[in-house]
């Protein structure tokens, strides 16, 4: 079982790879809309990638209103 820290780090790694952001420049409290320069649609794409990575299903409503990696990680962690 992953710890929340591991889950968060995996999300950050995946996001930086997917959106070509230099590794290590993203932090748990970063706002992913702002830091990755993405819109709500691209966020949905990111979620699909995260679902595949973690092998979970994350309903759209779970991430409604979420904009930072830490909260996103906690939502994912609760479904692992």
């Amino acid at each position: 079982m992953r710890t929340i820290e591991q889950t968060t780090q995996e999300i950050l790694d995946l996001a930086s790879r997917h959106f070509n952001v230099p590794a290590g420049t993203l932090g748990p409290d970063d706002d992913f809309f702002r830091k990755l320069g993405i819109d709500s649609l691209q966020t949905l794409e990111l979620l699909s990638r995260l679902e595949n990575h973690f092998g979970i299903e994350l309903p759209d409503y779970e991430v409604q209103g979420v904009s930072d990696f830490r909260t996103l990680a906690s939502r994912i962690q609760s479904r692992l």
Partner: protein, 570 residues
């Protein structure tokens, strides 16, 4: 299609539609790969009537207001039908708002009933603001897990009564809905839309883009949005067509839905359309050289053959693979909510997929102008719909002036805002605040806004006053948020930005701490509401006797600054 001229209300028309098209498929609901539900109009009636009766038994009276906060799904439409059947006024709220904003609008609307879904209620129930929504006495929550704490709400699925409900007639001038075009943070603008507004708009729109049994509309835009309400509920229902709901908006499942359900129409906001374009363009670019040449030739042939009007059959034959990807039955993509760039519209039209672009605002019903495709004109927002009188007032030397509209689709007014209503509707004409002109063929072209607001590519109207609260107590002398184009008009409807104008205290300098404070506060806003830059202004803001900022006067003073130099990124 029902003859809407014979009807007085949405409820009466929908009631008859359910009988007229009893055996047609009315709704399909799908979640990812799995189809969850498929209802005929008869099935729909069986689900809606017990809810309508239960509402009546719970003292929901004609004229009472009921809000819906839900993602797109069959229960949204069933609930709306029950509200109209019982003579209620529907308050459709955007599910993407924050809980605090929801409570503000629930309070402002005076809703006595709220129908929502469990994930939303879970966040809404404990949020601040519930105590102020004093009229609210019934909350119905869909899909609540067994034994979940509903904080005083009732499970929607159990809220049923078996006795037949009593249909409550309404007249055309009665309010049908209260639709919030903006104002969550400041002065809520609740547009009171009458039954006549919808009946007339529906006749106008279906004359250009008809529905019939067998046609399938993919409902992606939130149903609280005027467009989806019209073309994803009322329009298809009174024609016996089918509405398809997806419980996820992940692009891969949306793409699959076109093929799976043979979609006829879909409505999108410009942002999604542009993304779709980007995806398709990427795939075309990956074609091997030879195939690409053949493809480009076919597109050129299609373009030439559809110059005067669309030829769907021909386009589907010529560009079969593209059309098959969209299910092979797509007649048009309806795009609205914000301005769409002409090259995006042209891209799809050249592939034989007409995009019904238009221009509208909540206050005028769904749409004022729509492209009639005869011929397709990517550089305009189309001609006025039947029944719309559209004029340009105070034109400049280029003929560009404010667009004003008179029609039976124009709202009755803003809820509890007689002054604002009087400023907005003058002698029966709706002052849109948008700038435009007609070309010689009668097509409307838009050139920016006269009003201090922006519309995002996601179709969100953002008024600066609504987001200022987040900067309250910012340690500066004074501040004000503006739409940049309001200060420096650019004759453009795209790339609109919000800016924060700051006046520092005497002797105060702009520090990194202050910048971080602004960034932090900005981050509390939903992403599409955030400011893009700031302007430091070294003069006292002009104010009224009651110390309110005179925004228009301040904007005039700021105009003298060089936009490029004045706006600093945050």
């Amino acid at each position: 299609m029902l003859n809407l001229a014979n009807y007085q209300s949405i409820g009466a028309a929908l009631k008859d539609a359910l009988n007229e098209f009893a055996d047609e498929i009315c709704l399909i609901e799908s979640d990812r790969e799995r189809e969850k539900d498929r209802l005929t109009y008869r099935d729909f009636q069986k689900r809606a009537h017990p809810l309508a009766r239960a509402l009546q038994d719970a003292a929901f009276k004609p004229g009472d207001r009921a809000a819906i906060i839900m993602t797109n799904q069959s229960k949204w439409l069933i609930s709306a039908y029950a509200i109209f059947f019982t003579g209620g006024v529907l308050v459709p709220l955007d599910y993407k708002l924050t809980p605090t904003e929801h409570w503000q609008l629930l309070q402002h609307s005076g809703a006595t009933t709220l129908i929502t879904e469990f994930p939303i209620w879970r966040q809404l129930a404990p949020a601040n603001g519930r105590a102020e929504a004093t009229n609210l006495h019934t909350v119905l929550v869909t899909e609540a897990p067994p034994n979940a704490d509903l904080s005083g709400a009732l499970p929607w699925e159990d809220f049923r009564a078996e006795a037949p409900p009593v249909f409550v007639p309404r007249t055309r001038i009665d309010p049908a809905t209260i639709v919030y075009s903006s104002g969550t943070g400041g002065r809520p603008k609740g547009c009171i839309m009458t039954h006549e507004n919808y009946l007339e708009q529906c006749v106008a729109l279906t004359s250009l883009y008809p529905f019939k049994p067998g046609f399938r509309y993919l409902s992606i835009l939130p149903t609280n949005h005027a467009i989806d309400f019209m073309v994803g509920f009322f329009g298809p229902f009174i024609c016996g067509a089918t509405v398809v709901h997806l419980r996820t908006l992940r692009p891969e499942y949306v793409r699959e839905a076109f093929r799976k359900f043979k979609i006829t129409y879909v409505s999108l906001v410009p942002l999604v359309l542009k993304n779709l374009q980007k995806g398709l363009q990427g795939r075309f670019d990956e074609l091997p050289c030879g195939k690409r040449k053949v493809f480009d030739t076919l597109v050129a042939i299609n373009k030439a053959l559809t110059k005067r009007r669309p030829h769907l059959g021909l386009s589907r034959l010529l560009l079969k693979q593209v059309h098959d990807n969209f299910g092979g039955a797509l007649r048009a993509i309806i795009v609205g909510g914000a301005f769409t760039e002409p090259q995006t519209l042209q891209f799809f039209y050249d592939l034989g997929i007409p995009v019904a672009n238009g221009y509208g605002l909540t206050e005028a019903g769904t749409a004022i102008t729509v492209n009639d495709l005869h011929p397709f004109r990517a550089d305009t927002v189309g001609k006025p719909l039947p029944g719309m009188e559209v004029r340009i007032i105070d034109p400049d030397a280029d003929g560009v002036g404010q667009v004003i509209v008179r029609s039976k689709t124009v709202m009755a007014g803003y809820l509890n805002e007689p002054e604002l209503t009087a400023e907005t509707i003058v002698d029966g004409w709706l002052m849109t605040g948008d700038l435009g002109r007609f070309d010689r063929d009668g097509h409307l072209q838009l050139f920016g806004r006269k009003k201090n607001m922006i519309v995002t590519e996601e179709g969100k109207n953002i008024y600066p006053e609504d987001i200022e609260a987040v900067f309250d107590s910012l340690p500066v002398k004074e501040f004000c948020v503006f739409a940049a184009n309001y200060i420096w008009p650019q004759r453009s409807m795209v790339g609109e930005q919000l800016i924060l104008v700051i006046h520092l205290e005497p002797g105060q300098s702009f520090t990194e701490d202050l910048r971080q404070d602004i960034i932090l506060r900005n981050g509390r806003l939903l992403n599409y509401k955030r400011i893009h830059g700031m302007v430091l202004f070294d003069e006292d803001f002009p104010r009224t006797a009651s110390l309110k900022i005179k925004r228009n006067v301040l904007a005039e003073r700021l105009t003298t600054l060089d936009r490029a130099k004045a706006i600093q990124p945050i």
